[in-house]
């Protein structure tokens, strides 16, 4: 990342600088147990509150963990019964000016400290660029976790273990939501068949193959492993066989592989959740009965469909409700992002409530709500959602890996060479065989086949992660006495896949020259051609009489346009065709980039410009430079300005997403949009007019004015679609694609001298004051006292000597 690049120059110093930083963090964590034991002695009254007030969020329920201490303390309370009686004058202490009450803030304090550690770690890795380019972040984080765990253990406390409920309820959802909300839908649906086959059949194959083989190993080896039944082994197989989305994301994100492979592996890791849930519950229920009847198998099948489709259904419902809610949020923009997060989280929790697949619910809700919500919410909310999701998922991921490391140190382990090594080997074999077999089958149906290189990456990218660990952790001891061994095996496999496969995948990708992601933005051309080809293919399918992929997609789109969009999108945007929405989004992005790069401030002072911005008289200032004109031309210009300003306001309101609250940022982009449109139009007019025989009123200023006000002449019919006319930015460097021609034209003409004395005239040409590079004139509201602004106001308010002509009359009658 750019941080790496920037620091690459000074390698030695940052790593030295980073060291005390890391020590500080480790020290902070080491302080935890000290603070804790201190806090317990501070106020016995406080400590005697029932232990369940400390919900023990971070610390697990393992014996010997931190929460065991208060129990000990409260037992000490009983011999001191009189201490708490108020008003007892004998043991009165001095009033404490300064005191420590750690127990009061303990839980939030510890949580914050852990999150802080995670964030500082992330920061730290980028300071040491050499390491982070070889080792993926996930590995580094696990190592950190190991170190911290070791540190805590060394201090004498027992380190916390990643509890399953915290993992599933708090750490996993942000990552999945982030993935689901920003899922590249086109590639996902195009490859859905492949992804589903990998997810469902692949996971089933892995689970049964591994479970069966491990059972065989257990039977054969005999040394204490004999009592692990087939079902227990199958359960173990189902836990370990699921590809983990967190690990996949963490590793694949860094290698920038091409979109097809990314979506295949990632999609598989998301969709196999349903299979994992079903298998896990199935085997867990029946692990202690050695017999599995046919009924159970059938019920298992049914359960799979219920779990997956039910999850999707729940997600869709919440997605639709969220989209519908967002339709009405135009007045309270600030809480829009919260709706997105809350509805998605509720979808996840509701699905988990019914033992449905929460991950699929989350993905479905994100996918369903996104197009409608994005059409309804403001740009700022969109940015907020994006950044919050990225932030949460990033922190979650970091925490998960750190906790994996800590849990490794903290947990009880039972190492059995045979079991663990064979697990490892069979895992890899199962994955490779599964991918090869399935690809052979899938390639019969794919247009773009999967090459052996692709297959290798898919197989190699099957990383296991924290989900497997948490599922293993959930097993209870009574039914699964070998739980510790399972956990050890799971952790071994996770470590192997994350460390070995994670570290080597990047050089392998380079070695095999796998196609990388193309980092280009989508252009309007591509969008148009994509839609064009979609229509074309749908038509050809219809001619062939074949109801294929395109046919159904087209039907869905039409249904969407006709019914769904009307319900879920507010106002006029419900009718906006996709192409137009795309175009607007693109324009806005570019306008914002332009503004952020300071393009507005760079107008050279020597060149005069004619420009007009969206006049919203009460909100924004307008700095413009106008040509010097004779008086009657001024009148005409004034008239036209007035007419078209009204039209502008009407017109723009229909495209403005929140008319009541004039968000200056959004106003700004409207103006940018207009400016650039006009610049382009100007170039086109120049092209036209330069070839047209010279008009009678031929002074440069007049021709400029004529051209500038041209759209009326261009569109003689008076439709309400006229954009404001005099918006020409010929010399502004920020509209690069337009107007070199016009620049030339203007540069050639003589630069008119500034005439500040002609204030009363209203429209005067003058040289624009050089604005300082930082200020964008669009964003300085309230500078309404500038002379040009006043002039404009006067111009606008002046009714003009002549009665207003009807709208649509050309500015300068042709041929006059």
């Amino acid at each position: 990342s750019h941080l790496k690049a920037g620091i690459a120059g000074s390698r030695g110093a940052p790593s030295l600088r980073a060291l005390p930083f890391l020590f500080l963090v480790a020290a902070l964590l080491g302080m935890l147990p000290l603070l804790h034991s201190h806090g317990l002695q501070s106020d016995p009254v406080m400590a005697s509150e029932p232990p369940h007030h400390y919900p023990a969020v971070i610390s697990g329920n393992e014996p010997g963990d931190i929460t065991a201490a208060p129990l000990g303390v409260s037992q000490e309370i009983s011999p001191l019964p009189n201490h708490s009686s108020p008003g007892h004058a004998k043991n009165r202490k001095a009033f404490p000016v300064l005191g420590i009450d750690y127990t009061h803030v303990r839980i939030p304090f510890e949580i914050s400290l852990w999150i802080l550690l995670a964030c500082l770690m992330k920061l730290g890795f980028h300071v040491i660029p050499s390491v982070s380019s070889i080792v993926p972040e996930s590995c580094l984080l696990i190592v950190v976790g190991l170190l911290v765990g070791g540190l805590i253990k060394g201090v004498g406390e027992s380190p916390p273990i990643l509890r399953s409920d915290i993992f599933f309820l708090f750490l996993l959802p942000p990552i999945i939501l982030d993935a689901g909300y920003f899922l590249p839908l086109r590639q996902f649906t195009e490859n859905l068949g492949t992804i589903l086959i990998f997810a469902v059949v692949g996971t089933l194959w892995n689970a049964f193959f591994l479970g069966g083989l491990m059972y065989a190993v257990c039977q054969i080896s005999g040394t204490g492993l004999n009592d692990i039944g087939l079902l227990a082994n199958l359960l173990f197989g189902s836990i370990i066989s699921a590809v983990d989305p967190v690990a996949v994301l963490a590793v694949f994100e860094e290698i920038h592989i091409n979109e097809l492979l990314h979506i295949l592996v990632f999609g598989e890791s998301l969709l196999n959740d349903a299979v994992t849930v079903v298998l896990y519950h199935l085997f867990e229920e029946f692990a202690n009965f050695e017999q599995v009847t046919v009924t159970d198998i059938i019920l298992g099948f049914l359960s799979f469909f219920v779990v997956s489709l039910g999850g999707v259904f729940v997600g869709v419902i919440y997605g639709v409700i969220a989209a519908f809610t967002s339709r009405f949020t135009s007045h309270i923009r600030v809480i829009e992002p919260l709706f997105v997060f809350l509805y998605s989280y509720m979808a996840y929790l509701s699905a988990e409530l019914f033992h449905l697949s929460g991950i699929m619910a989350l993905i479905a809700s994100g996918v369903v709500m996104r197009p409608y919500v994005e059409a309804n919410i403001s740009h700022k909310s969109h940015t907020t959602i994006k950044y919050f999701l990225k932030m949460w998922s990033s922190v979650s991921e970091t925490l998960i890996f750190i906790f994996l490391g800590v849990s490794t140190v903290a947990g009880r382990h039972y190492w059995n060479w045979t079991f663990i090594i064979s697990t490892l080997i069979f895992c890899l074999i199962a994955r490779v065989l599964g991918v090869l077999g399935l690809t052979w089958f899938i390639n019969k149906f794919r247009i773009v086949k999967l090459t052996p290189k692709d297959q290798f990456i898919i197989a190699y990218g099957g990383l296991r992660g924290a989900i497997a660990f948490s599922l293993g952790y959930l097993l209870d001891y009574e039914h699964f006495g070998m739980r510790d061994m399972f956990l050890t095996a799971i952790i071994t496999v996770i470590f192997f896949t994350v460390f070995v496969q994670g570290m080597t995948i990047r050089p392998l990708v380079d070695l095999l020259a796998v196609k990388k992601k193309q980092e280009t933005k989508r252009s309007i051309n591509e969008e148009i051609h994509t839609q064009f080809l979609d229509h074309l293919l749908t038509g050809i399918e219809d001619i062939c009489g074949h109801y294929g992929h395109h046919h159904w997609k087209d039907k869905l789109n039409r249904f969407n346009k006709k019914y769904v969009k009307k319900c879920l999108i507010a106002g006029e945007r419900s009718k906006e065709p996709q192409l137009i929405a795309f175009y607007h989004k693109m324009e806005m992005k570019q306008a914002i980039e332009l503004v952020e790069s300071g393009g507005l401030g760079k107008i050279p002072s020597a060149i005069s410009t004619v420009s007009m911005q969206n006049i919203n008289p009460k909100a924004l200032p307008v700095k413009r430079i106008l040509p010097a004109l004779s008086k009657d031309k001024e009148e005409e210009i004034r008239k036209i300005l007035r007419n078209n300003l009204q039209k502008t306001r009407q017109r723009l309101r229909s495209y403005n997403r929140h008319t009541l609250v004039a968000d200056p940022y959004e106003e700004a982009w409207n103006q940018m949009l207009l400016r650039r449109q006009k610049a382009r139009q100007l170039e086109q007019k120049i092209n036209n007019y330069l070839t047209v025989p010279a008009h009678k009123l031929d002074s440069p200023t007049m021709s400029r004015a004529r051209i500038g006000s041209d759209p009326l002449a261009y569109e003689p019919k008076s439709d309400s679609g006229n954009l404001p006319i005099i918006t020409v930015d010929p010399a502004s460097p920020q509209s690069p694609e337009s107007v070199d021609l016009v620049n030339e034209e203007l540069k050639g003409t003589s630069c008119l001298p500034p005439s500040p004395e002609e204030d009363e005239e209203g429209l005067v040409m003058r040289v624009k004051d050089p604005s300082s590079p930082g200020t964008d004139d669009v964003f300085t509201p309230g500078a309404g006292d500038s002379p040009s602004n006043q002039r404009i106001m006067r111009c606008l308010s002046d009714p003009g000597p002549q009665p207003e002509p009807e709208e649509g009359e050309p500015f300068i009658p042709k041929g006059k």
Binding site: I447, S523, I528, T530, F532, L533, L536, D542, C544, E715
Partner: protein
Amino acid sequence: MGCQSSHPSAIPELDEIMLETGFSQASVVRLYDRFQALDKEQKGYLSKYDLQGIGELAVNPLGDRIINAFFKEGEDLTDFRSFIRVLAHFRPVEEGKSNETGRPEPMNSRLRKLQFAFQLYDQDSDGKISRDEMLQVLRLMVGIQVTDEQLVCIAERTIQEADQDGDGAISFEEFATSVEKLNVEQRMSLRLLK
């Protein structure tokens, strides 16, 4: 689909068709059935009217253009050979087949697919997509709600982006460049037409 499958011997010029288009015999038979099903009066030819009778094509924005692509300039009827020749463009590309020199460009190659798509844009066949032609296509795809001004902006922007030699129109090479990333071989292939 046709109610009964035709016998391969009933199809005229079967071998030449298979050679020219690269379709398998099964595909040719299937398409012949479809041809006959569309040809309601059993003329042996398809008229534009027959194709317009397909319901879904009527709602397709590009429906008319697609239909016209099957008919040669000025003609009103198309026989099976021309019909299948157009559909040959949409056969999936075979991977791994090297480009044998000396053989003519197969009909389903990337180049041919692009040429077919380009043809649909370029109605007057002057080898360029002018601004008006782009505007027409946009108007077809976008519908009635959008005003001319907006479409003009988009059309101009589109041409500006793609136009490299500055002639204000998109030539075939420029078109090919702008769809480079779109994976045309996959997009313009129908799996059933093997």
